[in-house]
Amino acid sequence: MKIKLLIGSFVMSFSSLVFNASVYAGAQDDPLLTKVMIDQVEIDTGNENAVAWSAQAWVGYDLNKIWLKTQGERAEGETETAEVHALYSRAIAPFWDLQFGIRQDLKPSPSNEWAVIGLQGLAPYFFEIDTALFVGENAKTALRIEAEYELMLTQKWVLSPEIEANFYGQNDDVTGTGSGLSDIEAGLSLRYEIVREFAPYIGINWSKKFGNTADYAAEQGQEKSQTQLVLGFRAWF
């Protein structure tokens, strides 16, 4: 199966990461490092039982890394969506990493598995881009595009607009997603970096469902669009 092949190449790529020549005449040039980034842990001020998260972590070297990514939402004590990605990442340009691996959707159940090919990096004008194509069982496809910008108001206050769009290649009754543009989420957050590694923020999130996804939502009696005022924090180490 495609996914198993991908896992195979993923393991092989990782083994090539482990060997790293040490530099003797001074310190080690390219040490094995890890970084954990909690980009978002936030509550909806209108519904304090609603929590959303988004986090990433990498382990590796300058040009080759293993990435783990997760994002999801909980409401009323239940996890509504939760996904985990495990990716091999290779630098292909000064500001861009090509990533491939697997994505597992834990919720909604039954779980979905996808193969992932993504491109993550910094576009001209300092737009942070994370985009990925997903291929699941029965030739299901999905595309996600995320972009973020950081406007430094001062050395500590950062205003950050963010947008995410999801597209699907087919209708899926189980997940309530329809083919074509499915949903857009746009946010604007204002954070204060107490230290580089930790910043609380306040933000406005606006989301809207489109096309068949919107129709699914209507059938379920859900809103097509939603606006939330959120409180959260970012952290990394």
């Binding site: 005449a25 310190a27 040039d29 390219d30 970084k35 292909i92 000064p94």
Partner: protein
């Protein structure tokens, strides 16, 4: 050739005393009680060791520069280590005992000696294992101000450095009444490995002078939306910060002068009318300092230990590992501030040169931090504000209008100093420029310079010689301060090796700022083949800086004879600053057999931007 006779005299030994700093006992009694009550906040002097045999020990020691106890690696229990006072013409023996739990080493920076005594693990020897003692022994065949430091891991950052002062065999051409070593450094309570890891995870981690929205609004008010957008466009497209002057800043660093924090304030005494020789050494890990002494003219008499034709300035820039000897002649009884501000203006090291220990000089305000100009990216764009009105930009030569790789739509042109160049028709060595005048070779980027590991290449680098450098270009215009440039430096002694170079090696200093990767020609040290020099050859090395950071490049074992335009008096240096988007050339006589290190002396650039050089 001797421009300044009242300082330089070739005959007769000068009357002088060597004082490393006033004793703390004296200070305690002489300072106002508010300061005296703080037992720690007292100027520490340096220990001086002299003779022919030296015993040094490397140990861990808990130090406190910031209010927090931190473990340092120290030489003979102090930071800096002792000043080693040597005599030209003698043979010295230095036994170094390593009491650390890890390998260590000491490298004698700027010393001309045998390869196996150079102290670089993996290149000149195996390093000093824990518990072992290594005996260094070599002839001293030079004089002047040098220094020593660990060449293992990041031990230099945690305190392993000290000064070397070598008295000349012949009469010192520089006369003075008193002398002081002024050793500048940067201290952090963070482990250097952690600083390095943070830079790899977020290269701007320590930069708190980034461009903000209010800067943009100011620019728009001044220049309008369209011009602001245009001016920002290159930075936005290249995804680089024009405020990136120093990778590591005062956010984590405390800057030290002879091991004293700014609060402690190093003290040096003078008597009115004396000639004071200050031996400045930049032993920082990552900090380039701009030095001045408000109220005093400084006559620079030596650079990297080698005497130069005296030049009087108000301010000079010290790259990491460079040394400058300066004569000052204070003629009033007062306190003068020795002020060394970091290039990014986030902090300073400071000392007091005073006629009376009860006097303290006012510490000047830090200058404003500068932003990088387009020209620092190797671009010289028509119709755009270069923000460097006082730059000496001699006759621009409009040849080879090659486009910059990052901005294909914008033309750039080289701005070389042709004013001192001899008649082109007289060039007898084919494509090579004449000795003393630098390179006129074409700039070529090797294929190894292309890829994810290199974020910029400069097609039309300017000459770095006439440029005072970022942050100092307006010193003359704004403050009336004359700033030293490399073009001002001329050797005191005639050039020893007057041969023309037989070949030229072009090396590109490369990197990826955001991934925090550094390399030479796009190849990091771990992957690089050694650079070969033929024993006895006279070769030109041209360094092209394809990054937006300044790199102080240090060649071990042989002099870097900087081509500043005077072939008869070429100054000899051991460390050469290569400015962003610029090139610089020097001649090397490959007279030192064996393996040598060649690297950027910024400690966190060094692991990658490094070459082994083999002379055979």
């Amino acid at each position: 050739m001797i421009a300044n006779n009242h300082i330089i005299s070739r005959d007769g030994l000068s009357r002088r005393r060597f004082v490393m700093g006033a004793s703390s006992v004296l200070l305690l009694s002489a300072l106002p009680f508010s300061k005296a009550s703080l037992a720690q906040a007292v100027s520490q002097g340096l220990t001086v060791l002299s003779g022919k045999v030296f015993n040094l020990s490397i140990d861990y020691k808990t130090v406190n520069f910031t209010g927090t106890d931190t473990l340092a690696t120290v030489i003979n229990q102090s930071i800096p280590g002792p000043v080693l006072r040597w005599q030209e013409g003698e043979k010295v023996t230095i036994r170094v005992k390593n009491n650390l739990a890890v390998d260590s080493s000491i490298h004698w920076h700027g010393m001309i000696l045998e390869s196996k005594m150079d102290g670089v693990p993996g290149i000149s020897f195996e390093g000093i294992k824990p518990g072992d003692t290594f005996e260094y022994q070599f002839m001293i065949e030079q004089s002047g101000t040098y220094w020593y430091h660990s060449h293992s891991d990041f031990q230099e950052q945690t305190g392993m450095y000290g000064a070397i002062v070598i008295d000349p065999k012949e009469a010192d051409p520089v006369t003075f009444d008193q002398e002081y070593v002024v050793m500048l450094s940067d201290w952090s309570d963070e482990k250097p490995e952690d600083i390095y890891a943070k830079l790899k995870k977020m290269s701007g981690y320590y930069n708190f002078k980034e461009r903000t929205a209010s800067n943009v609004i100011d620019d728009i008010k001044k220049n309008g939306v369209i011009n602001t957008f245009k001016a920002r466009s290159m930075w936005n497209k290249s995804r680089m910060s024009d405020r990136d002057l120093s990778d590591v800043t005062a956010y984590t660093y405390t800057y030290l002068m002879n091991g004293n924090t700014p609060e402690q304030g190093w003290q040096a005494l003078f008597n009115k009318g004396e000639k004071i020789r200050l031996r400045f050494i930049n032993s920082a890990a990552m900090t380039i300092f701009d030095v001045r002494i408000p109220g005093l003219k400084m006559t620079i008499v030596a650079s990297d230990g080698q005497n130069i034709q005296p030049i009087t300035v108000d301010e000079f820039r010290m790259g990491v590992a460079e040394t400058y000897d300066v004569i000052v002649e204070p003629d009033t009884e007062q306190a003068y501030c020795i002020f060394a501000q970091s290039i990014d203006r986030s902090g300073f090291a400071v000392g007091n040169l005073t006629s009376d220990l009860s006097l303290t000089a006012k510490i000047p305000m830090l200058d404003d931090a500068a932003a990088l100009a387009h020209s620092d990216m190797g671009m010289n764009m028509k119709g755009m504000d270069m923000s460097m009105p006082d730059m000496k930009m001699p006759n621009k030569v409009g040849m080879d209008h090659s486009s910059h790789n990052m901005m294909p739509e914008m033309k750039s042109e080289p701005a070389m100093n042709m004013s001192k160049m001899p008649d082109m028709n007289n060039m007898g060595v084919g494509m090579l420029g004449l000795a003393g005048f630098g390179s006129n070779n074409e700039i070529k980027h090797l294929s190894s310079e292309f890829g994810a590991h290199v974020d910029m290449r400069v097609d039309a680098p300017r000459s770095g010689l006439n440029d005072p450098g970022i942050g100092l270009r307006k010193s003359q215009q704004l403050f009336g301060r004359k700033v030293l440039t490399y073009a001002d430096i001329t050797g005191l002694k005639p050039t020893m090796d007057k041969r023309e170079p037989t070949r030229e090696i072009q090396l590109h200093l490369t990197g990826n700022m955001s991934r925090y990767m550094w390399s030479v020609n796009g190849v990091k040290f771990a992957d690089a083949e050694p650079l070969h020099l033929n024993y006895g050859e006279r070769v030109r090395i041209t360094l092209v800086n394809d990054t937006m950071m300044i790199h102080p490049m240090h060649l071990h074992g042989m002099w870097s004879e900087l081509e500043t335009g005077n072939p008869d008096f070429i100054p000899k240096k051991h460390t050469v600053l290569v400015q962003p988007g610029s090139k610089v050339s020097y001649l090397v006589t490959a007279d030192a057999l064996g393996a040598w290190a060649y690297h950027c002396h910024l400690l966190f650039h060094m692991p990658g931007m490094f070459r082994k050089v083999i002379v055979s």
